[in-house]
């Protein structure tokens, strides 16, 4: 087994991976940018090394710098987390070339799945259902595209072969929009990915996003760890995820799981991966894409299946056999995850920056918080504004929703605007409670603010008390101030240790 693993990431996932490594007796090595000098992921690591610079491009995306740090500090393996370098096949290959183990699938899989056209062809030949569509070869003739789009039937979706994050993606509702949409999608894809290839797909509306967690090892074994539903999205980004998916019958669940395993075997998959599908009301499902990394929302699977996916990733990367076979895996209870973002839901989810003045995460039976921040943390413009993930597990979905609402009601983050109240209004929305969710949930339903508790007197009293006491002004203004904050029972509950 490894003795020392470098985590090439930041925020909550770096904190979360470090914990499992430390549980396994492996030293966790953090890397950090200049603004992250005092970040939680640094303080939770056993060793930490600076990546000079501020932006992601200067720091967390600099595979060369990270590999050089790993080599000079006796690191055995690199865990890439999600985002950043996690799906970059060149980085995975560079790790291997440097004698380091990359904790993730072999580079050729990331390369193949990163090309959406190759991925679709691989899945189709493995018997995995794919969204009806068309991918041309070489230069695309508009008359051919017109003909193919009509054959698929409008609305159609234009997607970039190298796509991601919604770039190079266009919805075309009728033929008159086709030529202009095609041209702008190609231009955007070319600029974003250096690869202007696009393809057509039937645009499926009002479907659920359901994905299958897959896991393979280097001994030819592959299993699935059931599904996650991730329909609640804003700007094509998930904000609420859950497992199981209420819409799956045992038959469809089994079919999707088998499709996931077939996909894994077709790729020769090793380590953790996710096969994403669209699920329609009729129970038909279509392949979307493969994510060749640990997903943000992996905790809902961990809670329901009772397995530590990071531990399994490390074991598989070290050459061991999968620590579970298909028959040993079952779903127990229901888990929901909410992504806590520093953003203003009332202003188009505009990111919010600042220093966290108060941070009190909820805790208790069935509550898990994977956090990258604490009181005193600086939320800057440089990185993704996700602060933490709140996960609630209970025996049933109704109880999990109640638990989530309870926890969101008690989650204190001050200093930046967060989506906590918005998330609470989402999980308490009658349509969400009824399990009627699609990827257009937030477009179709106005998320009304909950009626405030009481008549507002209590907030005025709190304001008057704060104004009178003259406190709370410089409480966490500096890192020394953060220690003052840590010296209260509230702050101490977050896991602060003042040495």
């Amino acid at each position: 087994m490894f003795r020392k693993v470098l985590i090439a990431n930041r925020g909550e996932i770096a904190v979360r991976v470090a914990q499992t490594l430390q549980e396994m007796g492996i030293a966790a090595v953090a890397v950090h940018s200049e603004p992250d000098r005092n970040a939680l992921h640094v303080r939770r690591a056993d060793e930490a090394y600076l990546l000079e610079g501020k932006t992601s491009a200067e720091t967390y995306l600099r595979g060369d710098k990270i590999i050089s740090i790993a080599r000079s500090h006796g690191v055995d393996a690199i865990h890439p987390g999600y985002g950043f370098l996690s799906e970059n096949e060149d980085f995975a290959q560079a790790c291997i070339d440097a004698g380091l183990v990359f904790i993730g699938p072999p580079p050729h899989i990331a390369a193949a799945m990163g090309d959406k056209i190759v991925a679709k062809k691989t899945m189709a030949s493995a018997g995995v259902p794919i969204v009806p569509g068309w991918a041309g070869e070489g230069r695309i003739d508009i008359e051919v595209v017109r003909h193919e789009a009509a054959k698929i039937g409008y609305p159609v979706l234009i997607k970039a072969a190298a796509g991601g994050g919604g770039k190079g993606m266009r919805v075309v509702n009728e033929e008159s929009q086709l030529a202009a949409a095609l041209e702008s999608a190609q231009r955007e894809a070319g600029n974003a990915f250096g690869d202007a290839r696009v393809f057509l797909e039937k645009y499926i509306t009002d479907a659920r996003h359901v994905e299958i967690q897959i896991f393979g090892d280097h001994h030819g074994n592959a299993v699935h760890l059931f599904e996650r539903e991730c329909s609640i999205q804003r700007r094509h980004q998930k904000i609420v995820e859950e497992s199981p998916c209420v819409a799956l019958s045992p038959q469809v669940r089994a079919k999707m799981g088998e499709a996931g395993v077939r996909a894994a075997k077709a790729m020769g998959y090793a380590n953790a991966g996710t096969v994403e599908f669209m699920l329609t009301d009729s129970g038909d499902f279509y392949f979307l894409e493969v994510n060749t990394r640990l997903q943000v929302e992996h905790p809902v699977t961990e809670m329901v299946v009772g397995r530590d996916l990071v531990r399994a990733q490390v074991q598989v990367a070290a050459g061991m056999k999968l620590p579970f076979d298909q028959e040993q895996l079952t779903q127990t209870g229901h888990a929901i995850e909410c992504r806590i973002y520093a953003e203003d839901a009332s202003k188009g989810f505009l990111p919010s920056i600042g220093r966290i003045a108060h941070y009190v995460a909820p805790s208790g039976p069935g509550i898990r918080v994977d956090s990258g921040v604490t009181a005193g943390s600086e939320i800057s413009v440089y990185y993704d504004p996700m602060l933490s993930k709140l996960i609630a597990w209970a025996r049933t979905r109704d109880e999990a929703i109640e638990k989530m609402a309870w926890a969101l009601r008690r989650y204190v983050v001050m200093g930046v605007t967060t989506n906590i109240e918005f998330l609470r209004n989402v999980v308490l929305h009658p349509e969400f409670r009824a399990g009627r969710t699609t990827t257009r949930f937030l477009e179709n339903h106005a998320i009304a603010a909950a009626a405030p508790e009481g008549d507002g007197t209590e907030s005025m009293i709190a304001a008057a008390l704060a104004a009178r006491s003259g406190r709370g002004r410089h409480a966490v203004g500096t890192s020394a101030g953060a220690l003052v904050a840590a010296d209260t029972p509230w702050a101490r509950a977050t896991g602060w240790r003042a040495y």
Binding site: A357, H358, V360, A375, L408, R409, R410, Y411, V412, M414, G415, T417, I420, E421, R424, P452, E453, G454, G456, T457, E458, S459, M460, I461, A462, A463, A464, L465, A466, A467, R468, S469, G470, R471, G472, R473, A475, V476, V484, A485, T488, W490, A491
Partner: protein, 177 residues
């Protein structure tokens, strides 16, 4: 007495509120007034701006963060921003700018438990004159200067309103104390 003109961010009107610490011996006991509504509460705020209040039987934690012109408070799962339109603070009891006191009044509504002095008695600075109970908490009423009791205007067991006259005082001459 601490007066504050607050405006809820997003709201149009500013409201005047008053917060008074009613008893120097019970620093956590407050009355809050907004319009005609008076709320009695127990509250504590720590150095970071985190605190709790108890109103009747209810326990309400809160967190606050101050800036020069506004205060953010987290209460009941929601964060509110208040703009501070105006503020005036006066010392709660005792040595107000007005000098020695000629009356002893009830700082909160409550019950008179015990009267330690009679008319004609002399008293020392901060001597316990009247003990009353409010919100299940005892308060000892005193004034920061010495003097003589001119008249007692309450009796043990009496239920009194906030501001009720409990005794008339004749402050001692300056050179006497």
């Amino acid at each position: 007495m601490f007066k504050l003109l607050l405006k809820h961010a997003g709201g149009d009107e500013s409201v005047e509120v008053q917060l008074a610490n009613v008893d120097r011996n019970s620093p956590h006991l407050f009355t809050f007034q907004h319009g005609e509504t008076i709320t009695n509460l127990i509250a504590e705020v720590d150095a970071t701006g985190a605190g709790w209040m108890r109103i009747g039987g209810r326990v309400i934690p809160f967190y606050s963060q101050r800036a020069d012109k506004h205060i953010d408070v987290w209460v009941n799962g929601a964060t509110h921003r208040f703009e501070i339109v105006d503020r005036t603070a006066q010392r709660a009891t005792g040595a107000t700018a007005g000098g020695p006191k000629t009356t002893l009044t009830a700082p909160m509504p409550g019950t008179i438990l015990k009267i330690n002095v009679e008319a004609g008695d002399t008293f020392a600075p901060s001597q316990a004159l009247v003990i009353m109970e409010s919100m299940k908490m005892e308060m000892t009423l005193s004034v920061p200067h010495g003097g003589t009791i001119a008249e007692i205007t309450c009796h043990a067991g009496q239920l009194v309103e906030m501001g009720a006259l409990l005794a008339r005082l004749e402050p001692a001459k300056r050179d006497a104390s």
